[in-house]
Symmetry: C2
Subunit: 350 residues, 2 copies
């Protein structure tokens, strides 16, 4: 594939495709998403079980919050090792499971799917790989249709998963399709504006290449963005990075902030902003270089502004600056983000 | 308090108290633990909800696995922000909640407790602070009785919480008190042997003080140990550290391993060892300095041997080497681990 010959060409192309992938979800997936939402409603679940690993688990983390808020039922992240390592045989209350994997082939995810199915729990499979074991294991298949993702770092499949879960849960809560269509159209346009690597503030790439380590801190819906943002940077740039909830980070994890640390704070979410700002002030006081993603905060060295959106829609936009920095930072370091040392995409999407 | 005058004196003393705290739990808490286990059994719960933050959340993470395996019901970690930020009103199936906080005073934990109680879910409160709001909010109070914990890093309250949850869930699953009495007596003796700072391998403290960053990797029951071990090191030594499940770490997070990184792998657990060893081999191949905690692995620069125990009991012992390294490392760096820069224990225990 000729796009793969230039360092970072795959990642660059896959980041850029995102607005169009989101538009395609809304153009092509209405029937599937309405069927999934209808299946959730019809099951009258008392519990939502989210089954995922890695980047997909970050999307699941978002869905855990959003489902509880919108559907008023508890939502949990499954722990695959309970099944694969300790043979847990769990009896669920009336539940629905959503299993998420871009490749659809992770063995412990499939074992967990088999275990919930054995207890009679219906499974909605969300995957980018239509001929995968997960696609056939689900009672209902929701394809991501993001197209092949060939770079090792997941980008467009992550935001396509976020969007799929957001709309599916929103529809299950009674939102209208037309409302989501309008909201996603706006989001896609706003994402387009965020996409140029030049939108990163001058000096941020230098600070990133020189930093000893990175923290990313958010809360609520944006905790997923914190975890996923840190993962993008660490897997492509070999920089130590970790993502935290501001509620936890303000205690022990704050200990790692010192001069030379680059600390991203996700400040776009309206209701979570005060807690994140409190963390940012403490981190600035310890000498960390603060990067505000969303709204400017006092003491921030850099700000990446994001447009105003409902808090639950922000994770779609928050992902993008970290993807861009992963790309541009790796190129500045002289490494190919499409082929990070030691990492491989386990199963290629198709 | 005179013990506080020498750097690290509080932390040193609190680490050393652990075997005696565990023995005291088994000596004094039989009635309380049997009452809690009986309450869990009597409720016939279809879901266990664990409510915690920070270090207590790591103990909850262990309990999430152990409860699913032993009780055969789903167990979830609550997401306090769903309540405090987004006003989620969740209707639970027949559930029992366990709320865990050494201080018993964290506002968002208390808000989450109030929200599950409002839905009629009985709450078992596990706290070290008997006059705390959490102690009075619970339907049933299980005191940790660990004594005052004055150093900022939680140590004895963490392992006392692990022990409390282990025995409570074991009893609820039908284990006999006498069996646990014998097992904890052995564990306490084995912990005593691990306690001397001299038990850390020669050269490990040097490697820790010189490292750029730390990863701690475990799986299943020991994922809690990975997260908590990383937290102890980061909050006392200002070193970037993060804890991971080997299932996730083998993909993206492996990207941060490079020469200069110190990578702890938790290899004591029998059924999870193969997955952790696979990660260790990959990390060694990328030039990380591997520290095996449990069993030696090929390519490890250091090994901290742990005695053979049932996998579910290992987290009690796995915590100790990280506590010791937190203490000794900070002293070697010339900082006081009892007073890390920028951190405070929100509420003192009493």
């Amino acid at each position: 594939m000729s796009a793969g010959t230039e360092a970072g060409a795959l990642l660059r192309a896959e980041i850029a495709e995102q607005p169009e992938v989101w538009r395609a979800v809304m153009r092509d997936q209405r029937a599937t998403l309405e069927a999934a939402a209808g299946a959730i409603r019809a099951a009258h679940p008392e519990l939502l079980v989210l089954i995922a690993r890695g980047t997909s688990d970050h999307a699941a983390m978002f869905a855990q919050y959003y489902a509880q808020v919108r559907l008023g039922i508890p939502a949990m992240l499954a722990t695959p090792s309970a099944v694969t390592a300790y043979d847990a045989a769990v009896t669920y209350p009336r539940s629905v499971a959503i299993a998420i994997s871009q490749s659809g082939a992770s063995p412990d995810l499939l074992a967990t799917v088999a275990s919930v199915k054995a207890d009679g729990v219906p499974v909605i499979a969300v995957t980018n790989t239509l001929d995968s074991p997960l696609a056939s294991a689900g009672d209902l298949l929701v394809p991501l249709h993001a197209g092949p993702e060939l770079s090792v770092a997941a980008t467009k499949t992550y935001t396509a998963t976020l969007l799929t879960l957001l709309v599916m849960i929103g529809l299950a809560a009674g939102d209208s399709w037309e409302d989501w269509e309008a909201r996603v159209a706006e989001l896609a346009d706003q994402a387009q504006d965020l996409l140029a690597p030049e939108t990163l503030p001058a000096g941020l790439v230098d600070a990133f290449v020189e930093t000893s380590h990175v923290m990313v801190v958010g809360r609520g819906y944006s905790m997923a963005s914190a975890r996923e943002g840190a993962l993008k940077l660490t897997e492509t740039n070999s920089v130590p990075a970790s993502g935290w909830s501001s509620a936890d980070a303000t205690h022990g994890p704050l200990g790692q902030v010192r001069p030379g640390a680059l600390v991203f704070v996700l400040t776009a979410g309206e209701v979570t902003r005060p807690a994140v700002e409190t963390f940012a002030a403490a981190a600035a006081g310890l000498g960390g270089t603060i990067v505000a993603v969303g709204r400017a905060v006092e003491g921030a060295a850099f700000t990446i502004p994001l447009p105003e959106r409902a808090d639950a829609e922000l994770p779609l936009l928050e992902a993008i600056p970290f993807q861009l920095l992963a790309l541009v930072g790796a190129l500045r370091r002289g490494v190919d983000p499409d082929r990070p040392a030691g990492l491989a995409k386990v199963t290629r999407t198709s």
